[in-house]
Symmetry: none
Subunit: 250 residues, 2 copies
DNA sequence: GCGCTTAGCCGCTCA
DNA sequence: TGAGCGGTTAAGCGC
């Protein structure tokens, strides 16, 4: 749900912002204003048209017409207030530690809106699950030097093992892969697969990180943990799917 | 001049955005969308309510409800396009070097506006590292009594040393300056410069304070720490007219 | 809390 | 174009 005001008076804009601040909404205000900042450093920015963003967590951003970076900002946790004085609308933001202040003085407000921005989506760094497995299958050296993979997503009676292979010493290997921190359940899964086999398999658990309990269980069982560098892997992601989509529309 | 659409259809929003892109306006679009990014790294962000900003210089920002930083972005210079397909509005952004792509897929657009953001104001930054250097260069006694500085920001093969000089006892000196607490990296930097020289140099690390690990490394290397009195130095900087404005609001 | 490391760091300067 | 480096770096993690 969006509420917005187009070309409001400074008084209505101020009232609107204060109401939205109280219920910690995302607020965006575009207008003609100047900015002063003092804290770790200090700065002054003369009058101009720009955009002020106040987030529900108390972060503040001032964006000009160019560039990735905000020209002025405060990180989350600030206390923000808005008022009208001498025909100017003033947004005042205070950070406690380190002590910092930011002041935006509006001559005019062109548009102001606020909304709750309901957003519970997960942000996943790195490739999608499917992509991820196919990359590792092609590049087993990311798991372990000398490792050769013979099958992926192989069905066993006990479940589906991510990879089977042979390590540099000729041992047969089962690999369980997790895209995120591996917990005890991941170790149990791996253990289940290996114990379902009549012959001996080495166990490798491969994940960006592992919890302490999971690691001790893993060691107790005699399996190996291999750390995954997600960034290195995502660099191998081809941009082909994007290029195709782009080409189609050019 | 602001143009805006509240709860537009995806088709109108797309048309609006393309028109605004053509004349390089600042565009802001708030809605329900997902984001995919592939390039130096890669990421996927599921469906959620957030804000997409496209600037006239071809920078792109995706802001969620929290935090200073955008969750996804592209720096300036991107080629951006918008279209509707299968009841989704898609914003594509392509960066040439390095090759990177960002795709925002909108289910709904709540508000979209565009404007020119005329802003020619000067941005004046307070005392920066550079300012510090010039003051210290003029007042080497702040670093050490009897010190004479011979050059600043001198390029070596190993990097750029803040000051070179001669101390009261006639020793050649390299000075590394930090305007905040110096950490181990500052000591390493100084060490690197000195070790790159065939002749002997005394090392001085000059900062308001130093961390414990940094100090012990410094002593082990036989260099000197000199405390920088920020208050004394700031008196030589232009006085900020901001303090009084602050007082009024506190 | 402090201090250290990382980042799709960004953006600048200079060889 | 690439490397080095500062930044109101911010943000996360360990102690």
């Amino acid at each position: 749900m969006i509420e917005s005001l187009l070309y409001p008076s400074l008084n209505s804009a101020s009232e609107f912002i204060n109401t939205s601040l109280r219920i910690k909404k995302f607020i965006l205000c575009c207008g003609l204003f100047s900015v002063e900042y003092v804290g770790r450093s200090s700065s002054t920015l003369g009058l101009g048209e720009r955009v002020l963003i106040i987030k529900g967590d108390g972060s503040v951003l001032v964006h000009r017409s160019k560039g990735y970076e905000p020209i002025n900002w405060q990180p989350s946790g600030c206390i923000i207030r808005c008022e009208v004085e001498d025909d100017k609308m003033i947004v005042f933001s205070e950070r406690r530690r380190p002590k910092e202040f930011l002041k935006a003085v509006f001559d005019k407000v062109y548009i102001v809106f606020s909304t709750s921005l309901i957003d519970n989506a997960k942000f996943l760094m790195g490739p999608s699950e499917e992509k991820f497995y196919s990359i590792l299958f092609k590049h087993p050296e990311f798991i372990e030097k000398g490792l050769r993979l013979t099958s992926k997503q192989k069905s066993l009676s006990a479940g589906v093992v991510d990879f089977t292979g042979v390590d540099g010493n000729g041992n047969y290997v089962f690999v369980e892969v997790k895209r995120r921190t591996a917990g005890v359940d991941a170790v149990k899964q791996l253990d289940k697969y290996i114990r379902s086999q009549p012959t001996k398999f080495r166990g490798i658990l491969c994940a960006p990180s592992i919890t302490k309990p999971a690691l001790s269980l893993l060691e107790k069982k005699g399996y190996t943990f291999r750390k995954l560098d997600l960034n290195r892997i995502s660099k191998l992601l081809t941009i082909e799917p994007f290029e195709e989509t782009l080409d189609k529309h050019l």
